[in-house]
Symmetry: C2
Subunit: 237 residues, 2 copies
């Protein structure tokens, strides 16, 4: 937790902030070993970042005196990530990685090799997803929550939604065996599409290319989804 | 498990291979749902890769008829990764990520912000480390085991070992706030040094720069070690 993320309601009179959730109170005590008078980094959800001095810490709450929270959060990546829904544990870690890296729009997509049971996972509950996004923001000292969309039908997304996204963005389909190596250091808005473990099936690859995506690869190694997504984002931007 | 890694002793008369460990037998049954006659990818530790046909699968063993295992493994990354010893769970995942990405030489280094207890972790037992390296190789269809060295003293490593490594390699110290952005797409041998959660202390940064490392950064976001290492490798090579 490199930043304490405040909801607007956590701030009183613009000068003090108070957090009460057990997870962060425990983290402050056990990991930070925080003491009264410590200076810590805080930020307002969707807003600026600054420092606060710890005034009180007990079983119920932590209270901070705030400086002006006017440092902007780090810049986002200009990417809409479309990720075939990973298995639940991999989903959790992937959401944390990509949020820390600065992704702000994520669509979780069905595809043939996504097990249908994954869509029933408790990890998809909004609270659970939110929890992983917050962990990613806290890690990277960011304040801007990503938006996560669920696309439970492959064809409706690829036929009805994707073409509109690609009107103003470059579409990149990361898939083993595609002809073009992943581009490096680009600076334009991108829709990045990443398949499930085992990859998209040929029919799906064809539909994505038809919709206007360029096929790219990361070399001959087969990577886990969470490794591949991090590697793609690091190479692209 | 995208490749079944064979020890030379697993191959009989150069034509059949037999594996008996419960982990892989279970994986073949439960994840691959393998059936007699299935064709799978196999490779010999340190050697070539090919296909094999599953001849038998029971509680005791899986037996394959081998084709010629003569496809070379994917090329390694030209990097010696020097990583401040992460906490045990992060170590496990980091070893899998970097092995899958093609790192062949890893030094786990002590530094001030590495908790001394981490050096006592059962995760550092050679068998445990080996297990994570094998998972990385199986994932990426590689056969060449990385070498992992333990450097339990920061100064002995930086003063006595690192200068020799840097005679023939470019030294890069990844540390927040360094002046130079991480270079992209280089093709020369590198020693990549990555600090612990919380970073190297200033004294350590100075010693590493004195030893000949260039300081590089990945931008304003603070990343977890496993995310940072994957991002650095993907951007560098």
């Amino acid at each position: 937790m490199n930043l304490i993320l405040l909801a607007p309601g956590d701030i009183e009179h613009g000068q003090q902030a108070c957090i009460r959730d057990p997870r962060r109170l425990r983290h402050l005590k056990e990991v930070h070993r925080a003491r009264i008078g410590d200076s810590m980094t805080l930020g307002v959800a969707g807003g600026g970042i600054g420092r606060g001095e710890l005034l009180a810490l007990d079983e119920e709450e932590a209270r901070f005196a705030l400086s002006t929270l006017n440092t902007p959060p780090p810049p986002p990546l200009p990417v809409h990530l479309v990720l075939a829904l990973p298995r639940p544990r991999m989903l959790a870690r992937s959401l944390e990685h990509v949020t820390a890296l600065g992704v702000k729009t994520i669509t979780l997509l069905h595809s043939r090799r996504v097990e249908k049971s994954y869509w029933q996972s408790p990890e998809l509950a909004p609270d659970k997803i939110n929890g992983h996004l917050v962990l990613g923001l806290e890690q990277a000292r960011d304040t801007v929550m990503p938006k996560v969309n669920l696309a439970k039908g492959f064809r409706p997304f690829v036929e009805d939604v994707l073409p509109g996204l690609l009107e103003t963005r470059r579409g990149l389909l990361a898939h083993p065996g595609m002809p073009q190596a992943c581009p490096r250091g680009i600076d334009e808005p991108v829709v990045l599409v990443v398949g499930p473990e085992g990859g998209f099936i040929p029919f799906e690859v064809e539909r994505l290319l038809e919709a206007g995506c360029e096929g790219i690869h990361l070399g001959p190694r087969i990577l886990r989804v969470e490794t591949a997504v991090t590697a793609l984002l690091a190479r692209l931007f």
